[in-house]
Symmetry: C2
Subunit: 252 residues, 2 copies
DNA sequence: CGTAGGCTTGAAAAGCGTCAATAGGAGTGG
DNA sequence: CCACTCCTATTGACGCTTTTCAAGCCTACG
């Protein structure tokens, strides 16, 4: 257990929670005063598995992770992608039995916080509680968009949409430079996220590349040539991310 | 504006919120003391539309409703189905701009509550706030399962899964009798919920019927012959609904 | 170098969509 | 009570998107 200090890792959490509500100085101090432990998890490792009893909530300090669920046939579906600043596993730890797994895409540093401390904080400081509730609501909004993405869009649109979402969220998290980024997922994982096979993901990405919508110096390095055009192909409207005006604009 | 009384419509909300946390007498009174208006909305009517500024949250007192989003091609995707006791539009009204529409499947009675009163209650009575937060978390869990359903399951499994979910939720809401129920959706709406076309929904349902997994006296009247078998076909595990033990068991 | 994981590509099959036509039931107005 | 209309369910034929299976290739890493 560390104590909050000037450069606490929990500053990341403060940043995330301040995003949608105005937190006063005491609120911020209370967040920074949360007990936590920092843990590094390697690629492929799980923070929690489906059906387990989750005992820890966490904030991602660096790296990328996904939440996923398995189906009877053995395939899996990724239901969300997470990066720096995201609260993960609140869902599982507050609801007792995990309904999904949380797995690292890359090596991740995570600040683990006991769930009961989070509940306590939410009770004692209503604005912090509200911030976390809103964060959960936005989480839900992103899930809804994903249902739409896999339910009613063709492969080309799905992939373009995912690339747009990832790009914009990187920017909001302060990780993006221009429209270039390193996609931390294999094409099989992209398939798991879009409800496609890796083979079809490959063909679709190459098609997007041939159309000039994206460029790739290597398979994972995505460069978005014309953001607006890709957003149009991907039927992408950032509304569902519920970003505030003070956050980076969409155009870029 | 009515005042809370012995048989307030808001008892429905108390029932829902008591489901996952223990609320004391004062918590219950505070919920019943919320200002509200009761409104009847006809079939097909909207409580709120995508992109609108939502100003009212509601609890369904009777009837059925769906949340949906439209895609560029004009098709739509239903992202959840709601019934008595469900809180709808908290998402939209707390997040300012609506990211989805809420539409009635049947005539609905809804108790409308000003969102700011809900926020106030959540701040003043932390356990009520926690109950609503948990409700939002469960909402998210159901969305995750729907992503999996449309993303990684074939038509037969998807439909069987939806029929199981609906049946179980009816039972939990106190609306189900045995394994018979009236499905308040057209086959086109079922298609919108499962990411299929109405034509394929029709064929799939008829196939399920031929297999003896369900019986139908008329197109909407579903009778589940063998719950366990349908759940197996539908890859259905009720875990994601996060029901408490004191709620009706799955087998039936 | 040698192995493993990820990427790429081709050919064929399958599942689901599209188009189109028919039928039944509920409500409406004459 | 009948004619009419609209909405929903049903079914067939055909086509297309995506999957499946399979093979080869590249690159990182031990």
């Amino acid at each position: 257990m560390n104590r909050a200090d000037r450069h606490s890792p929990l500053e990341t959490l403060v940043r995330t929670l301040s995003c949608r509500v105005d937190l006063d100085k005491d609120d911020r101090s209370a967040i920074l005063a949360l007990p936590f432990t920092t843990k590094t998890l390697e690629r492929h490792h799980y923070l929690v598995r489906e059906h387990d009893i989750a005992t820890r909530s966490g904030v991602i300090l660096s790296g990328y992770a996904v939440r996923s669920k398995a189906v009877a046939s053995g395939e899996r579906q990724i239901v969300s992608i997470h990066m720096k600043g995201d609260l993960i596993d609140l869902q599982n730890s507050l609801l007792e039995k995990s309904d999904h797994s949380v797995q690292m895409l890359t090596t991740c540093e995570i600040a683990l916080i006991p769930p009961e401390e989070i509940l306590k904080l939410a009770s004692e400081r209503p604005m912090v509680g509200r911030a976390m509730w809103l964060e959960t609501l936005v989480d839900g909004s992103v899930f809804r968009e994903w249902i739409v993405n896999v339910g009613r869009r063709d492969a080309r649109t799905r992939i373009a949409h995912l690339l747009c979402e990832f790009s914009l969220r990187l920017k909001v998290a302060g990780l993006g430079k221009d429209s270039n980024y390193e996609l931390p997922m294999t094409q099989e994982q992209l398939g798991d996220a879009t409800g496609l096979t890796s083979v079809h993901v490959n063909r679709t990405i190459k098609a997007l590349e041939r159309e000039g919508l994206i460029e790739r110096s290597d398979p994972r390095a995505i460069h978005i040539g014309d953001w607006r055009k890709l957003a149009e192909v991907g039927d992408f409207d950032s509304n569902y991310l519920h970003l505030r005006e003070n956050e980076p604009a969409l155009a870029g």
